[in-house]
Chain length 142, copies 2
Amino acid sequence: MSEFKIGPLNHVGVAVPDLEAACETYRSLYGATDITTPFDMPDQGVKVCFVNLPNAQIELIEPLNAESPIANFITKNPKGGQHHVCFEVRDIDEAVVEMGKRGATVLGKPRIGAHGTMIVFVHPKDSNGVLIELMETPVGAH
Amino acid sequence: MSEFKIGPLNHVGVAVPDLEAACETYRSLYGATDITTPFDMPDQGVKVCFVNLPNAQIELIEPLNAESPIANFITKNPKGGQHHVCFEVRDIDEAVVEMGKRGATVLGKPRIGAHGTMIVFVHPKDSNGVLIELMETPVGAH
C-alpha cells in the first residue's frame, strides 16, 4: 500500500449566514488581527475569507445564493456551524487514487480551491460524520 | 480594552460513537501514525485520544455513558461529527474576564482539560454556531 498520509491541518471551514458579521466576531471577541479580504467563488456558490491564526486558519464561508452547496446547511443551522476540516496532501491525484483504494467516497473531481491549489472532498460517512477536504499544499508553504 | 487575543488553533474536537474505530479510520484511511493512547476523563464523562498532525490535533471524544455531555450529540449524530474548535490562550482567567466584558457567554468555570491545562467553553451562539474551547497553552509548547 502507498505511504500516502495527510499533512498539516490547513483550516476549519465554518459556514456562516453573514460573512462580515462573522469577521467582526473574530475581530472583536477573539482579537483576530489578520483576516483576509472576502472574495466570491461563483463556481462554488460561496463567498469566503480566512482568519489567519499562527498555525492554521478558520475559513468563513457564506452562500452566494439559494443554489449554493452550503445554502441547505445554513437553512438547517441558521447561526452557522462547523462545515468541514481541511488537511493538506502532497499530491491531489495520489490522494484521490489512494482514498479510493482504501474504500472512501471521494466527492467529484479535484478542482481549484480557495487557496489556488487543487482540492477534493471526502464524504462525511467515511470519517465519523466529518466532511473532510483534502488540499494540495500551496508551493512555498511550510 | 485589553489586548486579549486567541493564539494557535490547538485542536478540532470530533465526537464519535466508537473511539477505537475512529482511531482506525485515521490510521488506515488518512495514514496517521501518531495517535495517543485513549484515556478516560470520568469527571467530564468522556474518553479521549488525539490524532497528532504536524501543526495541530484532532481530538476524538467518545461518551463514557448516557449522562455524558456528548451523549446527546451522538444521539443526534449517530456517526459522530465536529463538536468544537479549540484555540489556545495565554491565561485562562484573563480570557474569562475579557470574554465576559466583550459580551460572550462563558459556560461554567475553568477546569482542567485533556492536556492538563485550564480550559473553558464559550457558547456556540456567540461564534456562528461553533462551540469554542479556550485552553491555556501548555508550558513548553510552541
